[in-house]
């Protein structure tokens, strides 16, 4: 039988990886609809890999980054993208997407900090993907 992640748990974990906190109900509902479409056309191996990561309560942000940068696990990246699109339509999520104050220094610092975090996440993500391959 095809191994698939629980869509509610998946929505909760992807949201937490992107925005932190608890996913709003309306977003969870919309995400389930999108994830259903994604899963219908996904390859069994990718579905199983995502399900495994979710079962393990793994750091999905790290896994997504490693998958994206190594050209693997595009399903997880597309799930993150779908969540991002859906979240952007909510008024109380605008702060994640649009800044209304200008600061070059703050901008450079934000990018630098995220660059450092990315390096750490990448190392973790590569280890996670290895464990998925073995698992």
């Amino acid at each position: 039988m095809l191994k698939q992640a629980n869509p509610d748990v998946e929505a909760r974990l992807i949201y937490r990886a992107l925005f932190g906190g608890t996913i709003p109900d309306i977003l969870a509902r919309r995400y389930r609809q999108a994830a259903h479409q994604l899963d219908r056309t996904a390859e069994a191996s990718e579905l199983a890999a995502v399900a495994h990561l979710i079962d393990q309560n793994a750091d999905l942000e790290a896994a997504e980054l490693a998958g994206r940068l190594t050209g693997r696990l595009s399903l997880l990246t597309r799930k993150f993208a779908a969540m991002t699109y859906l979240a952007e339509t909510l008024p109380d999520h605008q702060r994640y997407f649009v800044t209304h104050r200008s600061s070059l220094v703050a901008g450079v610092m934000v990018l630098g900090w995220n660059g450092l975090l990315t390096a750490v996440k990448l190392a973790h993500g590569l280890w996670l993907l290895r464990s998925v391959r073995r698992g």
């Binding site: 999108a34 994604l38 942000e61 209304h100 934000v110």
Partner: protein
Amino acid sequence: MAEFIIVGSGAAGVAAALALVHRGIRPMLLDAGFVNAAAVPRVHGNLYDYRRRRDSFDLHIGTELGGLRAALDTEQSVAKLNAPNMAFVTRNAGQLAPLEQTRFHAVQSFAAGGLGNAWGAGLYRWVEEDLDSFPVSLEQLDPYFDLLTREIGISGQDDDLSPFFGSAAGLLPPLNLSYNARLAFDRYLRTRDTLRRSGINMGYPRVGVLSVPYDGRPACDYSNLEFWQSQPYIYTPAITLQKLVSRDQIDYQPGVLVESWRETNDGLTLLAADVETGESVQFTGGTLLLAAGAINTARIALQSRRDLSTRLPLLENPILQIPLIAPHSVGRRLDTQAFGLVQLNLVWQSAGHGMTLQGSLIELTAPMRAEFFGRFPLSARGNLAAMRVLLPAMMMMQLYYPGSAQPPAELSLSPNGRLRIVAPPHDMDRASLAPLLKALRMLGLWSHAALIQQPPTGHAIHYAGTLPMRTQPGAYQCYPDGRLHGTRRVFVADSASFPTLPAKNMSFGMMANAMRIATAAAIS
């Protein structure tokens, strides 16, 4: 029986109709004619103000999840066509005109007004250089360019690009530039002599977007809504279509898919299908003007001869997409009061390429920010941060090559009724763009060859040349007056008749040429 029948209501079809109406003729216009029936509320005011106040799911995504196509599909799609309000533009295209494509991604439309409903409204006059391989002179097109300039309302300016974009007579003032575009243009004006010596010219685009109220339509309100709903300040062929219908100057017959023609001694019969029921319908007329788009005009020609063996050429402008960063704008607030499409044009007379290339510098304020998820080599949260602090500093240059820069695709009719399009593999050389990237750095816009993307062939949506005009045409070619070889009453009014494609948006040239051909057909 109609004296003149036009097939297709896109830019070429309405221009041909306009030319006939000016001669006192009331043509019949056949069209599938889909219109926007989406129950999406119209947004008034600014996109970003709206998003702060309201849930924009209906506007951006829609219950069919069309706005999520970029995330749900593995194939690259055109973002603007995914918006719920734009879904009608490509509605049922795959069913009405099925394609088998290899290395080609055609976008087709059966909407009233055609693909023009979702265009960037770039309307560039042709100049002598653009007509090098055409059996047509610029003097034959100029009167129609003038007439269309008045009909449409085009903004622009007489500047360094006038030698490439033609006369600026009759243009409305240019649109306001976005913050980043203004800085780049100011730098161009300071370094103009150096850049021009290396073949780089920059200036305002010529766009069918109103900078001032015109002909009963309002001026651009810089609301960033260009991707999400039709805006009255952007000209689309549907505006002219609506005007001609409301004045009863054309006999508009929507809901019809034309499949083939049959010529008789005293006229011709069009064989068509009712779009909703599939039932066969026929129309008789004196003269046929084909304006169904280069691909579907060719389909009708092949189907009329039941020809399964001929392979027709299909031209397209190869494009490269160059992401650009203005470092001084990193961390700056998003310019939410910008026109969300092309800001400036750049023309590069490239000695290395031996050809003229044209770039459109585009603001990234209209698409969703999520469109850029995964484009930055950062973690997911890093991508969100980049959307906030990097995107306001980014623009995109869409660089157009002439159609001759790559071998044409081939188009033929399969026994199963599908149209087969096969494009040869072709990678554009990014390394040869080093002089352009250097010039862009002088304008304060940074990029790198490794970041340049080549979209799939067909992505420019500039299709042409399937039935090219020649001084002495052969089978599946046109005479200079647009008449298809081997016929007496069939004229090709759209870009199917182009022998070449210049490196610029072809819409305006196609409209002027459609008027020329319709006039020639009326006279003959």
